[in-house]
Symmetry: C2
Amino acid sequence: MEYTVQKLGNLAGISTRALRYYDEIGLLKPARKSSSGYRIYGQPEVDKLQQILFYRELGLELEQIKNIVNNPGFNGSRALEEHREKLLAKRMQLDLLIINVEKTISAKGGESIMADNEKFEGFKQKLVDDNEQQYGREIRDKYGDDVVNQSNAKMLNMSEEKYQAFTLLEQEVLDRLAEAVKTGDPSSELAQQTAELHRQWLGFTWPSYSKEAHMGLAEMYVADERFAAYYDKVQPGAAQFLRDAIAAYTAQNQ
Amino acid sequence: MEYTVQKLGNLAGISTRALRYYDEIGLLKPARKSSSGYRIYGQPEVDKLQQILFYRELGLELEQIKNIVNNPGFNGSRALEEHREKLLAKRMQLDLLIINVEKTISAKGGESIMADNEKFEGFKQKLVDDNEQQYGREIRDKYGDDVVNQSNAKMLNMSEEKYQAFTLLEQEVLDRLAEAVKTGDPSSELAQQTAELHRQWLGFTWPSYSKEAHMGLAEMYVADERFAAYYDKVQPGAAQFLRDAIAAYTAQNQ
DNA sequence: ACTTGACCTTGACGCAACGTCAAGGTGTAT
DNA sequence: ATACACCTTGACGTTGCGTCAAGGTCAAGT
């Protein structure tokens, strides 16, 4: 089946202007031009447009999309698998915002206290995630990790060194957590070290620290299974354990 | 606590440039200016910025956001409730895309057939949803439904009359489904009428119809509980029933 | 007091991704 | 031939900043 700009635009839900623009920039060329000059698109273009729309949804710039889909080595199936992963990640990021708004509602109702930095939970993560979507895989493969890390660091207004320390500390939290969980005791030395490391990690993105906010975040980790999953990859029950460790940590440092 | 542009920008994950721009357009004015001309923000501005970021996340233009948050009647708590609703809707819309990519992967693997129009499921819904976020509540309240419906119709490249018919038919499907489900028989006259109405509804957005695609969509309705919920609001089990009705309908019209 | 580096200001240019409009050609049904 | 929907190219304009320049301010260290 063949499509002119309006048919294809209707099919996909984009404007004819966008299709002409995509032609102009070399992102999506029509299969051919009719004798009267009309753009005629075919099946391969339909499939390619689908890919383009997924990439666009994930926040990539058109020039980037162009470089990806027009690469001779482009693999449509593999790309689809990646879209899926990234859409799931985007969904999780959206979940962060939903939880944020729910917490803010709760705080507004006087049921809890919310620190200023908590009010922006999710938005900053979105920065890094969006940056990762845009530059992550392709650029890492091509230029190595530094370019992306620099960009992520910039997003969070950190030096590259600081960002590296940030990500290393995150890994250390996970590693220490894995060990601590084996003790089965959230107030054990290892568990308290984990909580302290976690606190240090928070220091990178929080302008100020409070035990309440720390505890609030820990509660969030277990309040929703989607976030518990991040820590439970270390060990089932690790998110709960970390919450308890933080509870002990914040109570002890009162 | 008070913040200068960089502190507030770091807190919220936005650039100093954005904050200055927001000041410039009157969206977010600082609490005061220091003797040296520095912008100084306080607690009310922090809360307001959070609201702005939620609206921005939901796709509203800054001018629109400005009109909303600077309205003397603006109610922060009510706004937060609305953010929550809309974020959940956005999440559902994202789920559509995830299911689409999963179906495309399946089709690529030869496990199923996928029509061209199915490849863009979710993207077109995104158009209407985004439009609704931008213009829905406030404009409907202010000017009535027609302005938004016109805009939605334009999004889907329909006349206003066609869009009205489209939305009315959608309601009719739900109404007929409610009745049909009471028969308990997916091949009953009522159930088959429902499936026929559903097919007509699809005719508004699909350039071509196929039984396979129809069946595929019906499977989607029950494959994921998040979408089943849309039909199950009629009656628990209605999504399943509709799927079965469509199965009978497409088998019978073979 | 002076220096240094981080942070602040205003002003201005430029960009991505189109939306909109104008002028004129094409296809199809009546 | 007419009418209407759709096509083309060309061009201007918009939104929301990113980036840069020039110069002022703040705070800690010497």
